[in-house]
């Protein structure tokens, strides 16, 4: 991982992307953007982010399609994904985990909690990669 972790923000709402970018940059993360499922995959290939924040309701391949494509690719399947969606957790949380996401947040998410999970997810990854297994 580079000294500044890079986070890919995937959301079709430009205002929410901007808000997330401001919030993450203020917390010393690099950010890149994608506004639909197709460009999310393209950006993941090109930018190799350390973490992806993924909305579910997206044009050109929804969040589940993105998760599936990421899982199928050896290079991308190791990138942790945090799902951030307006959808109801009762109906989607389980399937999101089953599809390989590492955390689920409903919009609007509590900023402190979200940042803590982002930090822990990046941190956990360093630790478990360095463990002999």
């Amino acid at each position: 991982m580079a000294s500044t972790p890079k986070i890919l923000i995937v959301d079709d709402d430009p205002d929410l992307r901007q808000a997330m970018r401001l919030r993450l940059r203020a917390n010393h993360y690099d950010t890149v953007n994608a506004s639909d499922g197709y460009s999310a995959i393209a950006q993941a290939y090109k930018e190799h982010p350390d973490l992806i924040i993924l909305d579910l309701g997206l044009p050109a391949g929804d969040g589940f399609v993105v998760l599936e494509r990421l899982q199928r690719d050896d290079k991308l399947s190791t990138i942790p994904v945090i799902v951030l969606t307006a959808s109801d957790p009762e109906s989607t949380e389980q399937s999101v985990f089953d599809a390989g996401a590492s955390a689920f947040f409903q919009k609007p998410a509590d900023n402190t909690e979200l940042l803590e999970v982002i930090r822990a997810t990046l941190f956990r990854d360093i630790e478990s990669n360095s463990l002999p297994s």
Binding site: D13, L16, L22, S102, K107, R124, E127, S128, L131
Partner: protein, 547 residues
């Protein structure tokens, strides 16, 4: 229109009456095909196989009399119109029959020309109408729920936007903010949060109505939940200068509940209580075992507010109810809070009510069942109306290994429990509600009504499911073991034939609880002394039958 032939099932034991009815039916406008049986049992058998257009039913049959007769027919074929042809003119019985879903009640001696045909055709029409009304009612309900769920989903995006940018400004990420600006931004944020809570309530009420709320039942210490609610409401109480007191009766037993949902109910009640209590007043939250029903714990939230009128007491738990005399000038909500509270409490198997005298405060009480394994265990333990000979107790132990795992530990435990639920057959096995909160070590138990082969398969599935969990990867140790528990050597189980099944189940439940507790204690001890091996799986060791 399809085939106009009416298929009539005539349940009538008297051959004379049957002939008379047949003759009347020949006069019918549409062709009629009659199948006649003499006994109710034969009629029910017929209805099992076929769906006639109408049932003509005599009430006094060799094997059934009176109201019982039509009740059994209605239960067997709720969609087939039933017309009673009775020997006596009994207005009371007729009314009862109609209330329970019978279409008509005719007295045999009173038939005049064409009357039976009319009654029969109208009965068929009415029944068809009722069915289509019921179907369209269900469709409308479904549409309404979908609509509400869609609307609340779409409201979330702009709401999130307001929330995000208000916090970005408040946190100074876009430059310095002066005191007055900060105050206005806080108002925006507070309003956005209120709107968010309303959207949540709307969705929650819709879900409750559609029966879509699932509870995550655990063995809980109710003081923990009460404590959390007190901590969460402290600020609101202080701002209003209301004293908030939380207390629990000493030695209160564990309850079975979903802590998040119970917290939701509590927050709701405390929030209301603070809202309606004038400054310098007091709100008290207290949990105690119910004297009237020792299987339940009662939690009471009382205030020193204006109280509730007797008329309002009946309406207060209904949807969209808002107190017309609310003295407080804070914003009203949607009036869904108490409705949701009642739904959640009912789902737990408890009750909620309010006691109040106008002028002297209100006290809301809700009850929760004690943690007892007897009820959930009985379908696992009982087979063919008897206690099984043995069950299998599978134990799954998790240890937190690394520092990094701490953040997601709670989540990892919750997910493990969830996976366990998927490894079992709901009607044959039971994943015990966890005995305690999530410590650095967590033990889960599954009671399976099973033989050794299926237990092996179950263990393999559990292993597979749990090892797949990303939360556990590299951060937890897992140990899975199983033992057979004989149910035949229970104290007093075999010897006293008279002992009721219920008592036997209670005895087994007691013993399973003890074993689970003991196993937890011993594994904690061995863990301390010798450290923990990785991914250890013990084979099944005990015998299914007692030695």
């Amino acid at each position: 229109m399809s085939d106009p032939t009416k298929h009539v099932l005539l349940i009538e034991d008297n051959p004379g009456d049957a002939d008379l009815i047949r003759m009347r039916l020949i006069e019918s406008r549409d062709p009629v095909q009659v199948s006649r049986v003499e006994r109710l049992s034969e009629g029910l058998e017929f209805l099992e196989q076929e769906a006639p257009s109408v049932v003509l039913l005599d009430l006094n049959l060799p094997d059934s009399q009176g109201a019982d007769t039509f009740r059994k027919v209605l239960a067997k074929a709720p969609d087939v119109p039933v017309v009673i042809l009775s020997g006596q003119d009994d207005e009371g019985l007729a009314r009862k029959a109609l209330h329970q879903g019978v279409q008509d009640y005719l007295v045999k001696s009173d038939f005049c020309h064409g009357e039976l045909d009319h009654a029969m055709r109208h009965a068929i029409e009415r029944q068809a109408l009722l069915r289509s009304l019921e179907i369209s009612r269900k469709q409308q309900l479904e549409f309404k729920n979908q609509f509400l769920s869609h609307v609340s989903h779409e409201l979330r995006t702009p709401l999130t936007c307001i929330h995000q940018f208000a916090t970005i400004l408040l946190d100074g990420l876009a430059g310095e903010v002066n005191g007055e600006q900060r105050e206005h931004l806080s108002t925006i944020l507070r309003s956005a949060n209120q709107l968010g809570a309303m959207v949540r309530d709307l969705l929650e009420a819709t879900r409750a109505e559609a029966g879509k709320i699932r509870l995550d039942l655990r063995c809980l210490t109710i003081d923990d939940v009460l404590g959390t609610s007190g901590a969460m409401m402290k600020v609101a109480a202080r701002e209003k200068r209301v004293r908030l007191q939380v207390s629990t009766e000493a030695g209160i037993p564990f309850v079975l509940g979903d802590s998040d949902r119970i917290l939701e109910v509590l927050i709701n009640l405390i929030d209301n209580a603070i809202k309606f209590t004038p400054p310098e007043g007091a709100v008290a939250v207290r949990a105690a075992r119910m004297r009237s029903d020792p299987d339940f714990v009662g939690i009471t939230v009382s205030d020193t507010g204006p109280g509730i009128t007797p008329e309002a007491r009946h309406l207060i738990f209904e949807r969209l109810y808002q107190d017309p005399h609310a003295v407080d000038n804070s914003r009203k909500g949607l009036g869904l809070g108490l409705f949701i509270a009642r739904e959640l409490v009912t789902l737990h198997g408890g009750k909620i009510w309010v006691a109040s005298e106008p002028g002297s405060g209100a006290a809301f009480t809700f009850t929760l069942p004690l943690y007892s394994l007897a009820r959930p265990l009985s379908p696992v333990l009982i087979h063919d109306g008897r206690l099984r000979e043995a069950v299998v107790l599978v134990k799954v132990n998790l240890w937190r290994r690394s520092r990094a795992a701490r953040v997601n530990w709670k989540e990892a435990c919750a997910r493990t429990l969830d996976r366990l639920q998927r490894c079992v057959y709901l009607d044959k096995d039971l994943v015990l509600p966890p005995m305690a909160g999530f410590g650095p070590e967590q033990t889960f138990f599954v009671v399976g009504s099973t033989d050794l082969t299926r237990a092996e398969i179950m263990m393999a599935r559990i292993r597979g499911q749990i090892e797949m969990l990303p939360e556990l990867k590299g951060s937890c140790e897992v140990e899975i073991s199983a033992a057979a528990v004989s149910l035949t050597d229970l104290p007093g189980s075999g010897s006293t034939e008279a002992k009721s099944l219920e008592a036997q189940v209670a005895a087994v439940a007691q013993r399973v609880t003890e074993m689970a507790r003991a196993a937890m204690a011993s594994s904690a001890k061995s863990n301390c002394s010798q450290g923990v091996p990785e991914h250890r799986t013990e084979p099944l060791r005990a015998q299914l039958t007692p030695e």
